[in-house]
């Protein structure tokens, strides 16, 4: 059992659930306490100790039955030929002869209610490439492939033929219906078996997988354009980690800042040892509460990196309570509500789905004007204004007036651009016009640069 639990834990880890050594130790303690006899209590003790995040609960719920459900939970299969008279059985045998070897085997299985044996399953796994699969997402897809490898469509076709023939040869309708039902149930059970097997196999592969350690340093310096989906995944995780690091850093900084105001309480307390003579003056800590307005370009020209940029925006919003996040293509949308209470991936997908890219529809100028009209109240002297975009305005009016107004009102205006400076001003880029109005213009084409940029932003409040 212990071994099974360890494998389960490593499968969970492969599924993206963070589990530390201390937590797995807790899980063993909890299981010692409640035992393994009662499945529900066992499940709950694992769940309470291993999963610390509502977003990871579905992963747990998916993997748990694959590891700890015994095979008896399998749907029962029925022998549809059991009640046949000898003549009928002979008829059936006759009919089956016309099909090829493989097809006949399958038909017999369905009629008799036999499960696939381990050997057959292993063969299927080999044929469909299941042995290398490590992502639960593709479970259904592999199950389908396996069914196809079993030539399930043809089998169904053949079954229909057989039923028709049997009807013609004078089997009663009632008997036929009954058989049909049994076969239906058998089919489902078989499908279920294949599906379970696929899940188990993938889970097993996951638990055997080496811990994911794609070379982060290398990826950090790779331009966003040159990233594969898989690398993107790794980077997304990295962004989350960075966000956590930034969070503790920002907390420190906020504490260090002093306002110069006298803290009477602290002063009296500190000077008790001097009999109340204020020798040691204490000042009040000034909690800097920065405000952020982030506008993110998610138009076609930025699409390749908008996901990462949005995850950055998400992280910032998580970090700084007073953050207003916007995204625009041809017009501005307030996206902070989309982020609230969702886990990052879901939130970002929601935003990207809500605002599908168009062709040549980017209009930064319009978006800026719209911002100045509707949301100007979010900008004051405490606000740091961050614009994430390439400044490619599709030859529309850049609305420099509105931009200047925003820059003047805000504490700082920062532009994060994924394009290298030599491309600024080329084609439809208005970057050179915007640049002088900003306090900082940062080029961030890799995650490394992006992190550094954000770190710098937060370090100079």
């Amino acid at each position: 059992m212990d071994e099974r639990m360890i494998r389960f834990i490593s499968a969970l880890r492969a599924g993206g659930v963070r589990i530390s050594l201390a937590e797995s130790a807790d899980a063993f303690l909890a299981v010692d306490m409640l035992g393994v006899q009662e499945r529900e209590a066992f499940r709950l003790s694992l769940r309470a100790t291993l999963v610390k995040d509502a977003a990871s609960l579905p992963t747990f719920d998916e993997l748990f039955p694959l590891f700890f459900d015994s095979a008896d939970a399998q749907q029962p299969m029925f022998d549809a030929t059991q009640e046949m008279s000898p003549e009928e059985a002979q008829m059936l045998a006759q009919m089956l002869k016309q099909f090829g070897e493989q097809l006949r085997k399958m038909l017999e299985k369905l009629l008799r209610g036999d499960q696939l044996n381990q050997q057959e399953l292993d063969k299927l796994a080999q044929m469909t490439g299941l042995n290398r699969a490590q992502d639960m997402q593709y479970r259904d897809w592999y199950a389908q492939r396996m069914m196809r490898a079993l030539r399930f469509k043809e089998v169904q076709e053949a079954l229909r033929e057989i039923m028709e023939l049997l009807a013609k040869m004078g089997m009663s309708k009632q008997r036929l219906d009954q058989m049909q039902q049994l076969i239906q149930a058998n089919q489902q059970a078989l499908q279920e078996q294949v599906n379970r097997f696929a899940g188990q196999k993938i889970a097993e592969n996951m638990s055997e997988a080496e811990p994911d350690d794609a070379n982060i340093d290398d990826l950090m310096d790779r331009p966003f354009r040159a990233l594969s989906d898989r690398e993107m995944d790794v980077l997304r995780k990295e962004v989350r980690r960075l966000a956590n690091r930034l969070r503790s850093r920002i907390a420190l900084r906020q504490k260090r800042a002093k306002s110069g105001q006298l803290d009477a309480k602290a002063t009296i307390r500190a000077n008790l040892k001097h009999a109340g003579v204020p020798i040691d003056i204490k000042h009040r800590d000034h909690r800097l509460k920065p405000k952020l307005v982030v506008i993110c370009d998610i138009s076609t020209s930025m699409r390749y990196c908008s996901e990462l940029m949005l995850s950055l925006v998400y992280a910032l919003q998580d970090l700084v309570t007073k953050t207003h996040a916007f995204a625009f293509i041809d017009h501005l949308e307030f996206i902070s509500p989309d982020f609230a209470g969702k886990e990052p991936n879901a939130a970002i997908t929601a935003v990207l789905e809500r605002m599908p890219p168009g062709y040549y529809s980017t209009d930064l100028g319009y978006a800026l004007n719209q911002f100045a009209r509707q949301y100007l109240d979010t900008v004051d002297q405490r606000t740091t204004f961050i614009l994430v975009g390439d400044g490619r305005n599709n030859y529309n009016d850049p609305a420099l007036d509105a931009f200047q107004q925003l820059a003047r009102r805000s504490r700082r205006m920062i532009w994060i651009n994924p394009e290298p400076p030599m491309l600024w001003g080329s084609g439809d880029s208005d970057m050179l016009q915007y640049a002088p109005l900003c306090n900082n213009v940062v080029m961030a084409a890799t995650l490394g640069e992006l992190t550094e940029a954000v770190d710098q932003l937060l370090s100079q409040p």
Binding site: R18, S20, A22, E23, D26, L29, A30, M33, L34, E40, A41, L44, S45, R47, A48, T49, V51, K52, D53, A54, L57, P58, N244, R247, S248, A251, L252, K255, K265, I268, R269, L272, A275, G276, R287, D318, T321, P337, A340, G341
Partner: protein, 321 residues
Amino acid sequence: MSDTSNFSTPAQVKDALNSQQYIASDEIATTVFLTAQLGKPLLCEGPAGVGKTELAKSIAGATGRELIRLQCYEGLDETKALYEWEYAKQLLYTQLLRDKLQDTLAGANTLAQAADRLAQEEDVFFSMRFLLQRPLLKAILNDKPTVLLIDEIDRADAEFEAFLLEVLSDFQVTVPELGTLAAVHRPIVLLTSNNTRELSEALKRRCLYLFIGYPSVEQEMAVVHLKVPELAPKLAQQAVELVHRLRGLDLRKSPSISETLDWAKSLVALNARQLDREVLENTLSVLLKHESDLQKVKRRLDVTEKGPRLEEDDRSLRRRN
């Protein structure tokens, strides 16, 4: 039931919580049982108003322990959460005891001798007498076992979270003037979070985790029946079903159990016989706290003899989870 060590099975926890008018699912009962047995803090997450705070109160009631509550907010720090020297009282005492002090020092010949004598009395001023105990220290020093509720931890700053780690891992606190104070009894600790921000991994690692979601219709019926027994069962059924459908809508704030209960109470107060349009229009504001939500639901609401129903479009069909 005087102490948690009496809990020997999760079923017992469930019964004890039920006796406190808290209907616990198996999941809640098992997790609470493990919390008590393993002596680890329990982190409770879930939407607002599903009874996370109530759970702590019920555990306190069921175990006969005192409940000590620490409400978190932005800017909460050690002096508010742990302890503070009562400086005003110290000053006052110094003033009042001046004569006595002079007596003490009177016989001293040298300055050094006077200082020594004073040093002997130093403990008077840095004793428990002048230590203002805040919730965390109270829970640690209490001579009876307690339940410590740290409410809405997600509202506190990250640095407070880090500070909390230290307290939660060994249940001891170092006060520089007094030395280390260790817990007499290990309290049962409950942390609640509405997930407005992600908590640090380190904190999560030290806690057991319980996610309390919205209850099923049957569970919620049972809660309504328990807390508002005056409401007719048929009406309660209709009301709970409507609430469940409301939760399926894309609302800014979905109604929680506490709001269902408020609603049930107002239905009783209004002496409502059935959920007709008039009653609904008058009482919906108890359930929905945003004007836009209210308008949205009113537009969709369709009252028939069978009771209220909502016109559902594709968006509203999107279920949670």
